[in-house]
Symmetry: C2
Subunit: 467 residues, 2 copies
């Protein structure tokens, strides 16, 4: 459709400030955090910023009638190109629709519009002694809508699970413009097994089945206390072995993070004053939370278990000391980007997930792959659930390096599948990991496509993503 | 199809002892625990007991080619007629296929065939310091396959969630006989956001999308300690108010159960030696678990909070005293059935779920409805997540009473929806709650049907159930 006509049509539905069509405006929507869109910008025809279900409905109905692709977008912090309009058309930016509709304290739940920022939600919930446990690294930027669409998680998934675990119901605008409410039209129930579980099908569906316009989340009582243990290992395999022994002791920490040799080196180079032990092969960080006596008991036991293998163990509940122990982990992502003065970090192949028993094997193999391609790779991540983050660092302006990085990333993805894992533990598939869908899912991919076609027969909803 | 021909065909796939076609055998498959099938038995044409994926595949493919309805069945402990063949055809009894394929201790997961009994699984996992948290009342009988198909839960859902939270992957024989593996063909990952979440769509789909033949479950470290608090209230509203204050104190008990006046009376009538306080309007039972210091802290705090409203509070960690405090709750279901010497309990309308803030209102309204119809109703259940169990007691041989019970149950279901809850918190829809699907889900029901038709275009898979 002619872009001017498209703009006129959108202005029938929205106010002028809710419609963006200038090149400069569209530029901001031509990428996300993925390497793919860093290499090549992709522009939508138009961007709209609705703030009402009826507006979304009218936009989508218009798109449906005119076969125009629709790409929903939150804060654009994704690393898969999921919110980028590879087929052009309309980007629906939901980030300005950020209303916390209702905190229902007596039923331990909250209703939000998709644009609410994760950190803002938890700051607001804290006033009611509640919290929404998933905690992505992009907490200060990412939207709840984006988290639901991608089934985001983060540090605390090991104990608290992913976003899906907290989603009780959704309002969704379907590809044909109809609006449904999953989890019961008027329901405020916490438990509900009536009907097919469309809520959980929509979570993580990356916008290919519809636009999420309202979210009902279960909240949890906010834990009263927290503690951090750090353990340093001179042998890589000692790290997963220690994690397993902690589990065996009946302890489920709220987070278990690993920095391998590459990450330790990167952190020390970036901030020498942190002073991580240079000769270590791995550092584990355990976070435990709960009531104070429980935190103390778990900390004491983790220390005792870790001491069997670690060269150094420290435990802290003092906020300042905790922050200091955690600092190495906090700066890893930034530090990774600085391992080469002329380099920058590539967000690709950055999110594999493998069984805990194969984490050490995965880290060693990734190191070898980095050497094979001559690319430094920094490894860290959520070892508690096998979700490893890898950061290849290249000069992205150098096409030969970019090409090598893509080959490296391809091998990392294949490695994850080979090690009985997945190409993505939390960041999603988007446009960048679709090619592995058949290898990961086999015949199940057919069923995914049957469902996609049934719900979106014209294929207008976030085309080119997920499946 | 002629039953003799059907039997011959099944004998081409299975051994003679795996095929049941005699009337007496079929009689055992003509009902489950539902009131509906107590009133009217429904016979399948044949029952088969496969113990291999390939056998299930051949059976289903034959059914598909010949348009024969297929009804999967576990232990038949369901209360919705979900495993009863209302349209005749083949019942696939999976209860004898009870292999624990693999306990993968180092990855905190277990792979089972559908017929494994819940209690057997947890007894086995205990050897490895692991457990599968959901705990249905029918633990000694029900199968893991049935739990997955119904997204079962029980006492501990308030802290540990429902079955779905633990299902990492499924092998499913589709209605056309094809076999898929959800959650990744070879995956042992705990976190995996690749592809549409077919795993969670299958959980709770009550057999309408396929036959579950293998289940990969996440396990948790087994908690080391447990404690029980009992609180007695002279005002019904004080019970939910206390529950809310416990949450507000940052405590998430592993179970919070309520017995209202009707249940207290039933228990005392059935077993006077338990000696529950006759004048109480409600009794709450809190179970907390975790490490010992945490259990002690939570118990102490629950007691302090409960004392603000309760007439009596007791806390125990001694196993014998815990069992004794819990005894009233343990015998409630049995006691309910004995409130009339000539009566028996009806399993219908037994499983509504309402928001915590409306539990007291629900219990009062159910009492009034019981009086309106002249039917004693015993109320108890999982107040922590608003899942109330109601037990109408009638003489089922008396058609007038049965008719009145059905009217009562209908009003209970409507009440649940009216109170912003659901007709079913954990038992499912099956054949008995389909009529409320539109009222509960509205337009979303259309999407459920689109998915059902896409996956099962011939409609052979458990017809007449769920949607």
């Amino acid at each position: 459709m002619d872009k001017r006509v498209l703009k006129q049509e959108m202005l029938k539905i929205l106010q002028p400030e809710q419609v963006l069509a200038d090149d400069l405006d569209l530029m901001y929507y031509s990428y996300d955090s993925s390497f793919l869109t860093k290499l090549e910008r992709v522009y939508p025809d138009i961007v709209v910023l609705p703030r009402a279900t009826e507006q979304v409905q009218r936009i989508v109905r218009f798109a449906y009638e005119n076969n125009i692709p629709v790409t929903p977008r939150g804060a654009g912090t994704g690393e898969t190109g999921g919110a980028v309009a590879f087929n052009g058309g309309i980007v629906i930016d939901l980030s300005t629709w950020d209303e916390i509709v209702e905190v229902d304290v007596s039923n331990m739940q909250v209703v939000v519009r998709p644009g609410v920022i994760h950190a803002d939600l938890n700051n607001h919930l804290a006033k009611f002694n509640l919290f929404f446990p998933p905690d992505p690294g992009s907490s200060l930027m990412c939207t709840i809508g984006g988290m639901v669409a991608n089934n985001a998680s983060g540090l605390r998934a090991v104990k608290y699970g992913c976003t899906e675990q907290y989603v009780l119901g959704l309002e969704v605008v379907l590809p044909n413009g109809e609006v449904i409410t999953t989890g019961g039209i008027r329901s405020k129930a916490i438990k509900n097994v009536s009907g097919l579980n469309l809520t959980k099908l929509m979570v993580g569906s990356e916008g290919v089945l519809g636009i999420i316009t309202k979210i009902r989340l279960r909240c949890w009582p906010k834990p009263k206390a927290r503690g951090i243990a750090m353990a340093v290992f001179s042998k890589l395999d000692d790290a997963p072995a220690t994690v397993l022994e902690v589990y065996q002791a009946g302890i489920l920490p709220s987070g278990i993070e690993i920095l391998d040799k590459s990450a330790i080196k990167a952190v020390n180079q970036f901030k020498p004053e942190i002073g991580l032990p240079e000769d270590a092969e791995a550092i584990l960080l355990f976070e435990v939370d709960g009531n104070a006596p429980s935190v103390e008991w778990e900390g004491t036991n983790i220390v005792e278990i870790a001491k069997r293998r670690a060269t150094k163990v420290e435990w802290a509940t003092d906020p300042q000391r905790m922050a200091s122990l955690w600092e190495g982990r906090s700066v890893t992502a930034t530090a990774a980007a600085r391992v080469r003065p002329d380099g920058s970090r590539v967000f690709a192949g950055e999110d594999i997930s493998v069984p805990l028993s194969r984490v050490a094997e995965a880290l060693r193999a990734i190191r070898s792959l980095g050497e094979k391609y001559g690319i430094p790779v920094v490894n860290y991540g959520h070892i508690g659930d096998g979700n490893v983050h890898t950061a290849p660092v290249i000069d992205p302006e150098n096409p030969a390096e970019a090409e090598k990085a893509n080959q490296l990333v391809h091998e990392i993805h294949l490695l994850a599948i080979e090690l009985e894992g997945s190409t993505t533990g939390e960041h999603g598939v988007g446009a960048v990991r679709r090619q592995y869908a058949e290898l990961e899912h086999g015949e199940a991919l057919k069923v995914m496509r049957l469902i996609k076609n049934a719900v979106d027969p014209k294929g207008i909803m976030n085309p080119g993503k997920l499946i």
